[in-house]
Assembly symmetry: D2
Homo-oligomer: 295 residues x 4
């Protein structure tokens, strides 16, 4: 079993700064000097270059800054000068005191859904959940038990476009920063992705790229694999082909049927999705083309 | 991550026969012949000898038998003749149609408790839960959400004996076949164990025998280990020393504090306890002195 | 890390009987009665049915029989009567005192090759290695260090058919019971497989069915997976599609390059191949269509 | 299975700078500014504070610097000014072009020994091995096969002090930077440790702190654990109590005997030792009291 990260991001007055730009000398020095000059104490720092001789450079710095909230605007304006200069950085600043807002899309399976709700309740995920959307009534009681607004939008072959438009409208209205498909069993269109315009995280029940598409447990059974897995990735228009955030597997034997594989898979699915969501919440995931850097 | 077993024991008309006796020739032949003569179809069979030249022999056979419920008494009487003869077998027959009754003892932590309830709801555990006992009110709402009777029996230094007596009385009255301490934070006395007289399963938050006793995550932090673990075992009078059913670990780094170790440990604890409970429910665990055979 | 099996098969006077036939009642009873009547003591027994209501039944019994070698012919004749009767069993008897003969095919990579040789030397693999065949000189010194005949048969686009014929001739002449491709970097033809007529085990450097074919580490790098794996399988005419015996994976991050993935992969490859070879040597692997039962 | 790190430290013109000091603001800025001013390109950077409000701060920076070897003395003098100032840093600079010298102490078991030699040959370990010392002749041929000087120093109850003195003399004469006990079955005295005065890495065949001392596999068997493990740590005078560098485990069942546990354990032992040695070689391990920071 792989452990979840254990960030300190729910501590007050901590923030993360994530940066990407063309690799060049002096980036670490410039950013750490800037943070030092503004009184920040760097708690964690991580960096990656896809190619030290001319690739893309990624950095994540987690720091403590007293009264950050008061000074945030000024801090951002000052940093923009560093970023915009010779380095041409794309950057983002996130403060632990303003947790991200996650829209949850579910269907009938409860395991990934309940695991995320429970982790939030336990304080493992620094997140707000402004709404849950489903195409079925099944999980209403669970959502309400956790005090969450639950919207049912049935989806059929015919009403798909309107259903998606309604989903997007609800999510944007609720101010969702990103969406998580917690075993939401529908394929989303490019219109949905563009309309929402923010990251969407999915959990696929196989170790991608093996067993793309529907019924991966049945496919795994037919191939006779000795491991089954789960993959969490950002959703793109191409099915099950977006940037992978986390994967894990569990050993299986000839004794399993498609049904028991599905049961075993649930434990991996919920672990992998929780890891991916936690990493996303803590700004540990930077996308680079069709791949991710996960700090 | 290690997978849970995936038994078929919730299928109707299946049963398990578990046997232990001094190792000798002819046991497998005699038992399988008996099952065949009574029309049973053996689905799984497993055996173990602690020492082929004169140790203890253990066997578990899972079989399908049409109309087993009707014929059960007769079947048992007939098998007693095989068992009592030269082999001197201790044996047990359990039918999937009569799930075991599990008493749950909890305190304030919800993770192991909820995980067991969810698994039961999903059909992963073929079990009845006649009652939940706690020394605190905290988990009442969760228990009631699942429709379970919730008894609060506060425990103090002074009233321990009476509190335990009351716990035993409630559990026996409810017909509990075994009890599970789902992070119940009290040490149980020999009187409790003898009074209940049935198996009690505990989850300890370390890879025993390392870090016996209180505060294992703090001890792990101080020792600087690179793995933390969890151990599920049958409770005996000696603290954390009973027969081990299941163990697992998760890698950790220097970045963890006792608090974050505790968070990470939850995921292992609930997995390991679920595995142990499932194995117990499916009659896969046979105790041999201070050790277990887990088929 | 998944453990290797630890069979007792190198103990004298132990043997395995493996059986497959259409599932029906009474098989276990008949076989265990037979073994009992012939004075055998069953040490391990395992069985599997692909479908209890009419599938294929597989069984493996490991037993101890004093003076088995003397009595073997008689034992086999007698068992043939049990097997040939109503059950129509396909069966095989193997004695620990007659280790299988393994032909090793290698190319330039030494890791899987050396790992098998070391395990044999340490007594972990009960096997004889009558010959090593390579298309390159590179590993001659290692083979000779272990006292193994080393044959170099260069393979080109033009001489493939003759080279394969020569390989088959050498392996059959040496009495090889099976062959292992320990990172032998050539694809074998159907003529080779039919000519040799015995099992051939390969190690593929990905978690099949992901990344079939050449350069799986490069493909894994391009897809940005967070796990790389290895798969050991029996070779069939269809590339990388034969029955899988063992698989494992290792977590990787964005920091890896195709080169470092290759390095990390070596550790998984040699573990997985060793597990598959050990299981094959101990008659734990029964093939069923394009899948395996691994007892 | 946990992966080894895959450092780039064998690339020419790369170096690592490791630092520890009391935690305070501005360290990262000062060091990265210094490296930038000297034309270095930071490839990796990692840091840790035991307590952001006043603990110990650790940092490791891996960087590329053209013509580092030429400029090294000057570079070190200049950095000493940064380090000695307000920060009071302890620091070390290591260049990939000057691999560390490792003394190997072995006894009769070959698995850890061969694994290290093979990894060196494959280019996985950037290390020189000036000598191998053993108390037995058994592994002479293997050492010589890899071209390594092999010294036999028999150790008895009586000659222990002189034997250790001779070991220390040989290691110091050979310029060893550290020593590795690759299943060297003798306990080393404080005199040895002080006499050598450099790090000594051991591999213990249990998941410490469980099963300290002799015969851990027998102790694991008696306790009936479901996991066995291995621990690599720096040696201190207190037996098996030094700072832990790496640990791993492998699942086991009731079927194992002390002998088969020992066999299974070999695979974990060699993996864990290799990980620890590789981390040490790449200056990833910083000792803090009785614990380690492993970057």
């Amino acid at each position: 079993m792989t452990a979840l990260t254990t960030g300190l991001l729910d501590a007050p007055n901590t923030a993360t700064l994530t940066i990407s730009c063309a690799d060049q000398r002096g980036i670490v020095a410039a950013v750490s000097q800037f943070l030092h000059n503004h009184g920040a104490n760097i708690i964690h720092s991580d960096q990656h270059s896809t190619d030290p001789s001319g690739g893309t450079f990624f950095m994540r710095m987690e720091f403590y800054l007293k009264d950050l909230d008061v000074a945030r605007n000024q801090f951002e304006r000052a940093f923009q000068e560093v970023a915009a200069g010779p380095f041409g950085m794309a950057w983002q600043l996130n403060s632990a005191s303003e947790p991200k807002k996650m829209a949850l899309l579910v269907s009938r399976y409860d395991h990934c859904f309940l695991d995320l709700l429970w982790r939030k309740r336990r304080g493992e995920l620094n997140v707000e959940i402004p709404l849950v959307i489903s195409n079925h009534e099944d999980l209403r009681r669970d959502a309400e038990m956790f005090g969450l607004p639950f919207h049912v939008i049935p989806v059929t072959q015919e009403n798909r476009a309107e259903a998606e438009a309604e989903q997007v409208r609800l999510m944007r209205e609720a101010g969702a920063d990103f969406a998580v498909l917690a075993r939401y069993m529908q394929i989303l269109s490019g219109d949905f992705l563009r309309g929402f315009g923010r990251p969407v995280i999915n959990i696929h029940h196989s170790f991608l790229p093996a067993f793309v598409g529907a019924n991966p447990y049945r496919a795994a059974f037919k191939r006779g694999v000795k491991l089954i897995g789960a993959t969490s990735h950002y959703v793109t228009e191409e099915l099950d082909a977006g940037p992978i955030i986390a994967q894990d597997v569990v050993p299986v034997t000839h004794r399993e049927t498609p049904d028991t594989l599905m049961r075993l898979g649930r434990d991996v699915e919920r672990q992998v999705l929780a890891r991916a969501v936690k990493a996303h919440l803590e700004d540990r995931v930077l996308v680079h083309g069709n791949k991710t850097v996960v700090f």
